[in-house]
């Protein structure tokens, strides 16, 4: 929950107050000033040592929070009293939970890993007016802080030139007065200090703190080691890729010429790939990891990498690299907007910006600039967010504007950039008479331009630009991968390219719904079921549901042994997964067949050991397959056909068996041993169930003996595979105008299901709920007498599928079934006729308002009732109050105005002072 608050800090000497918002997001407490700049903090609740309600003037509700580091934060809650009370109650509860979890105790151990503690305690022999401070300092002096390879292999750059000592001094002061690591308060001065470059020893920790990865490390102690331990010795494609790049990651740095450095790098990258197997490992992550490992321990680096890949650079390193492509597109559009002349020139000479800028973004400039400069940019990046990458990129182009207008091709562009980066350490104004101007390096100039001239590039702008291009990028990635997938097929079979594209679309659709990640890889059985349900009519369960309010088609993926069989039948390489090629090949084998080929295909599909014979069990499976495919057909025609098939098959089979009984016995023994029959068990058959029984010729004969089966194999089987995308599920939301409109206004993907469930329930209670399965083939529209059902139901056969068919047929017995194509409309009309409840005329104009007003009422009630439930969980009374308060809060401006006025006066003063500080730093002479 958040609340308006005025923050005053009990820092020595200066008394500041800032208006802003206080957020309680257990287990964190965060504050941000209204301008989002003046002050911000996020602190774990476990670092709060004491909370006191201050007894100040009447009408002021203030809390004093004492923190681990001795800092005292005073927040004045400016919202209305009940809200403030609630906030306090929630805060109290959250703190209690933290205490129970023992988190308070873990703070002490954790902060010891932070260098800042050492820094502060060493610098000041603790003027210990605060107990906690003294305690913390004493323990931290054991100096078990985390550090990077730099401690052993030296940090890049000359510490003197980098003015390490003075930076450390400034930071020590800052950290002492404004908290550190877990409880750092961020003022503009913090950002300024970051902009002049973090001191090497503190850099790793500050990266952690500024990016927030510190909190991940804090709240997941030991996870890094666990991950490595659990996955010891495991090899994946990611680990293989990592091995290839270990020696190519900042190879000039001494640390990576030693086993120690390489091993650390390996562990961090591997641990990340285990943590996030979907992303795994992407080239460029090695460079990031190598870079941050110079400044931080493995565990720190691991968590920072996590924040980098998941939050700061979302999608950059994903298998599709969509984030990278998206941000390149955004960058291009920003160049077009901010530097139109350069953009136009690039268009004229056909130079693509990304050839240079892609690695900038992908490796945070580490791969492009000399390391000491790149790390300064990384400092800013962690402090100020991803917009820094764009700002710096634009500044680079702007500074080189003149020269860029001379380039003619990609190569020239790259060379220019390479030269520029190599000269970053040179003076920006070598010919200036002013020695101070001469001292400004090109890098300083770059940062100045980045943050001064491109301050218009805000996080919000980047977010909105990303949103603007997201669709375009996704679309282009999709078409690209589709095109290459189709192109890379070894054989198209009898498909055209377009058809293969449709197969790909179905596959893609299945992958989105299924579990698989990448369209190029193979799919497992589960995804195959999704895939097939996109293609084959019988592989999905389509139910036309009507409940008096609406009609819709619910579509589910069917599961049946037949589909599994198909999966393994198409898995020619026997690897338990199907590739796009396998699918094309498999579909090719069935979609273009004539009668005879189809019969043979079906035979082979069920002949598991490929000996040219079906066993008795397999004959039963064939009939089960039939029943599965025909499960939603209307009437008993198909049932009869299957039953006749069975009778005939066994008749012929038994007759043939008598002849070849003896001669085959030996062979049988073998097959018996080899096979593991997945068929029906516990069947009281006189002959071994896995004995070769029916050959193709006989099978064909048996099939052709039946008219229905013949027509099934002649056209319906092939026709049941349809490549065209399956039409949207919606039927017209019933014809009732009012409810229809109502429905369409509230329909979103999220609430659709709820709504459906709900209306179903109502439908059931008012007796209007009806579910009809849509037939897969839908050839026969007339009911036929059940023929030869007795033989179908011979004891000992389990036909679960047949039961379903039997069950569904009576329910729809009075319906005139229609062909699949027209079934939607046809059935909907028929349904209205059939509806047992009073003729409300819901298909017509609202002739009788009385007719469906109860329904509307019910639906309204439903909708009103639903939100109430959700709120119930979250203490609706309180929430309502907050909302009211917020509105009122806007009104009690008088109070705020005062504060604002105060702040404004105060604020400008601050910035000036800070400006001076920053200026001093830039011009500061080496100490």
């Amino acid at each position: 929950m958040d609340i308006n608050a005025v923050l005053s800090l009990g820092a020595e000497g200066e008394e500041d107050s800032y208006a802003g918002k206080l957020y309680l997001m257990a287990p964190y407490l965060a504050f941000s000033s209204l301008d989002k700049k003046s002050v911000r903090f996020t602190i774990p609740l476990s670092t709060v040592r004491r909370v006191e309600r201050l007894n100040a003037r009447a009408g002021i509700y203030a809390l004093s929070l004492a923190l681990w580091h001795g800092g005292k934060i005073i927040v004045q809650l400016t919202s209305l009293r009940p809200t403030a009370d609630l906030f306090c109650a929630l805060l109290r509860d959250a703190l209690k939970i933290e205490l129970q979890k023992g988190r308070m105790k873990s703070v002490k151990g954790f902060v010891k890993t932070c260098y800042s503690e050492v820094l502060v305690s060493a610098a000041a022999p603790t003027p210990s007016d605060e107990k906690d401070e003294a305690e913390g300092a004493d323990d931290a002096s054991e100096s078990s802080y985390h550090g990077g390879l730099g401690l052993r292999f030296r940090f890049p750059g000359d510490p003197k030139k980098l003015r390490e000592a003075s930076k450390i001094k400034l930071w020590t002061t800052y950290l002492k007065s404004h908290g550190r690591n877990l409880t750092l308060l961020r003022y503009p001065q913090c950002t300024r200090l970051v902009q002049v470059g973090l001191p090497n020893r503190l850099r790793g920790e500050m990266w952690e703190t500024l990016s927030g990865s510190l909190f991940l490390r804090y709240s997941n102690p030991g996870l890094y080691e666990q991950l490595l331990e659990q996955n010891t010795g495991r090899t994946t494609t990611s680990t293989e890729d990592i091995e290839k790049d270990l020696h190519r990651s900042l190879p000039e740095y001494a640390g990576y010429q030693s086993e120690e450095g390489i091993n650390a790098l390996r562990r961090v990258l591997q641990a990340y790939s285990f943590k996030n197997p979907e992303l795994g490992y992407c080239q460029a992550m090695n460079i990031l990891a190598a870079a941050i490992l110079i400044y931080m321990s493995e565990e720190q680096a691991f968590w920072l990498l996590e924040v980098l890949c998941d939050r700061l650079l979302p999608g950059y390193y994903a298998p599709s690299m969509h984030g990278t492509l998206l941000d390149q597109r955004v960058f291009e559009s920003l160049v077009q907007r901010c530097l139109p002349i350069i953009h136009d020139h690039f268009t004229t000479v056909d130079v693509q910006l990304s050839v240079a800028s892609l690695p900038w973004f992908l490796s945070l400039y580490i791969n492009s600039m000399p390391m000491i400069f790149a790390f300064r940019i990384v400092d800013c990046f962690f402090c100020m967010g991803p917009k820094v990458l764009f700002q710096v990129g634009l500044a680079i182009l702007k500074i080189n504007g003149e020269k860029l207008l001379q380039i003619q091709d990609d190569g020239g562009f790259l060379n220019l950039m390479r030269d520029y980066f190599a000269s970053l350490g040179d003076s920006a104004h070598p010919n200036s008479s002013d020695p101070r101007a001469r001292a400004i390096t090109r890098f300083q100039e770059l940062l100045l331009v980045s943050f001064r001239e491109f301050s218009v590039i805000t996080d919000d702008l980047i977010l909105s630009e990303r949103k603007r291009f997201r669709h375009e990028i996704i679309h282009s990635i999709e078409t690209f991968s589709k095109r290459s997938a189709v192109r890379n097929l070894r054989s198209l079979g009898r498909f055209t390219k377009e058809q293969a594209g449709l197969v790909y679309d179905a596959l893609y659709q299945a992958m989105c719904e299924g579990v698989e990640e990448k369209p190029e890889t193979r799919i497992q059985l589960r995804t195959f079921q999704y895939f097939l349900s996109e293609i084959a009519t019988w592989a999905r369960d389509e139910k036309i549901v009507s409940n008096g309010f609406q009609q819709r088609i619910d579509r589910d993926v069917a599961e049946h042994e037949f589909i599994d069989r198909l999966f393994f039948f198409w898995d020619t390489s026997c690897c338990g997964a199907l590739s796009f090629q396998d699918l094309v090949h498999g579909l090719d084998g069935v979609m273009f067949n004539d009668l005879m080929e189809n019969i043979e295909w079906f035979f082979n599909l069920h002949d598991k050991n490929k000996d040219g014979f079906l066993t008795k069990d397999e004959v039963l499976t064939v009939s089960e397959s039939f029943l599965f495919i025909f499960r939603f057909e209307v009437g008993d025609a198909y049932l009869g056909a299957v039953s006749r098939f069975m009778t005939n098959a066994f008749e012929y089979g038994d007759a043939l068996l008598a002849d070849s009984d003896q001669s085959q016995e030996n062979q049988d023994q073998e097959t018996q041993n080899q096979e593991t029959q997945a068929g029906v068990d516990g069947e009281p058959l006189p002959i071994p169930s896995n004995q070769p029984y029916l050959n193709l010729a006989t099978f064909r004969m048996v099939v052709l003996a039946d008219e229905i089966l013949e027509s099934f194999f002649e056209t319906d089987l092939s026709g049941s595979f349809r490549l065209d995308p399956v039409a949207e599920l919606e039927l017209q939301p019933s014809a009732s105008g009012l409810l229809g409109e109502f429905w369409s206004t509230i329909a979103t993907d999220n609430n659709k299901k709820m709504f459906n469930m709900f209306t179903d329930e109502i439908g059931k209670t008012i007796g209007k709920h009806q579910v009809i399965h849509r037939p897969s083939i839908g050839r026969y529209k007339n009911l036929e007498e059940p023929k030869a059902r007795e033989s179908l139901l011979t004891p000992g056969m389990r036909h679960s599928a047949s039961k379903t068919s039997l069950r569904s047929s009576p329910s729809s017995s009075s319906l005139r079934p229609s062909s699949t194509a027209s079934s939607t409309t046809a059935t909907s009309q028929l349904l209205t006729v059939k509806v047992p409840s009073p003729p409300t005329g819901k298909d017509r104009e609202p002739a009788s308002a009385i007719g469906y007003s109860p329904m509307v009422q019910a639906a309204n009630a439903a909708l009103l009732a639903r939100p109430a439930f959700t709120i119930d969980d979250a203490k609706d009374d309180d929430d309502d109050d907050t909302e009211d308060d917020l509105e009122i809060g806007d009104n009690d401006d008088q109070v705020m105005d005062e504060v604002d006025a105060f702040l404004e006066a105060h604020d400008s003063g601050l910035t000036d002072a800070d400006k001076a500080v920053a200026k001093d730093l830039i011009n500061a002479k080496p100490v």
Binding site: H247, R248, Q283, D350, S354, L358, G411
Partner: protein
């Protein structure tokens, strides 16, 4: 025509060349051998693509190759069009000790023929020849000598192979020369087997490409396109069309109409 060209553009002819192929087949090593005649760890990690240039002298003229050495990891695939657009030449590299790398190479070739500049000259290079050559080189391939790229080899092929290679090195080969040659002929590619390590066959790729590149057209396009010298000849689609026709007439095999 040639002299007119050399008159107008003082410098050498620029040819954009892109290297493609599966990860760890030795693309970067091949380039490094060609550009600086050395074999070593790739000091510069490849993000997206590395960019190098090298001149190549051919009879009376000098070609300046702008080489784009692309990243091999599969997920960088979608970035590849950025690098092969406008390329006049491509070297598709596979590893002769890894059959799957040829499959990947074939798909690259298909993609180039479909998506890239229609006149692009494509060379197929089967790298790591040193691993399958008996006595002459492989007996002298102790593991200690193997530097970075050889580490790649070790990951690409079964680990024990380098040590056992002296016995029957040919067994390491998974792609018969004839098979690759046949495919290259069929697809209209130049074909080489190379070893970036020994240097065998590397320079040949680039000189053969140089011979096959329609230099006159590059020059003509360069001169024709703009008054300003040096403006690359990618400006006009019409010119490309003209080039196309003539090119087809001269060397029908180059035209990638498959």
């Amino acid at each position: 025509m040639a002299e007119a060209a050399s008159g107008s553009t003082d410098k050498s002819v620029q040819v954009k060349l892109v290297l493609l192929g599966e990860a760890a087949v030795g693309k970067s090593s091949v380039v490094l051998r060609f550009v600086s005649d050395e074999f070593q760890a790739n000091k510069e990690p490849t993000i997206g693509a590395a960019f190098l240039t090298q001149k190549c002298r051919l009879e009376d003229r000098v070609l300046r190759y702008e080489i784009w050495d692309t990243a091999g990891q599969e997920r960088f695939h979608s970035l590849a069009p950025m690098y092969y657009r406008n390329a006049q030449a491509a070297v598709v590299v596979y590893d002769i000790t890894k059959a799957s790398s040829l499959e990947k190479a074939k798909s690259w070739v298909k993609e180039l023929q479909r998506q890239a500049n229609p006149n692009i000259v494509i060379a197929l290079a089967g790298n790591k020849l040193d691993l399958v050559q008996s006595s002459s080189s492989s007996s002298g391939t102790p593991l200690s000598e193997s530097s970075e790229d050889e580490a790649d080899d070790a990951t690409a092929t079964p680990g024990e192979t380098p040590s056992s290679s002296s016995g029957e090195p040919e067994s390491l080969r998974q792609v018969p020369r004839e098979e690759a040659q046949a495919y290259a002929t069929e697809a209209g590619l130049l074909f080489f087997e190379t070893s970036a390590k020994t240097g065998e066959g590397v320079v040949e790729i680039f000189t053969e490409i140089a011979k096959k590149i329609p230099i006159e057209h590059i020059l003509a396009a360069t001169r024709g396109s703009v008054g300003r010298p040096g403006a690359a000849g990618r400006a006009g689609g019409a010119q490309e069309g003209a080039v196309n026709l003539e090119e087809n007439a001269n060397k029908p095999k180059d035209a990638c109409n498959c």
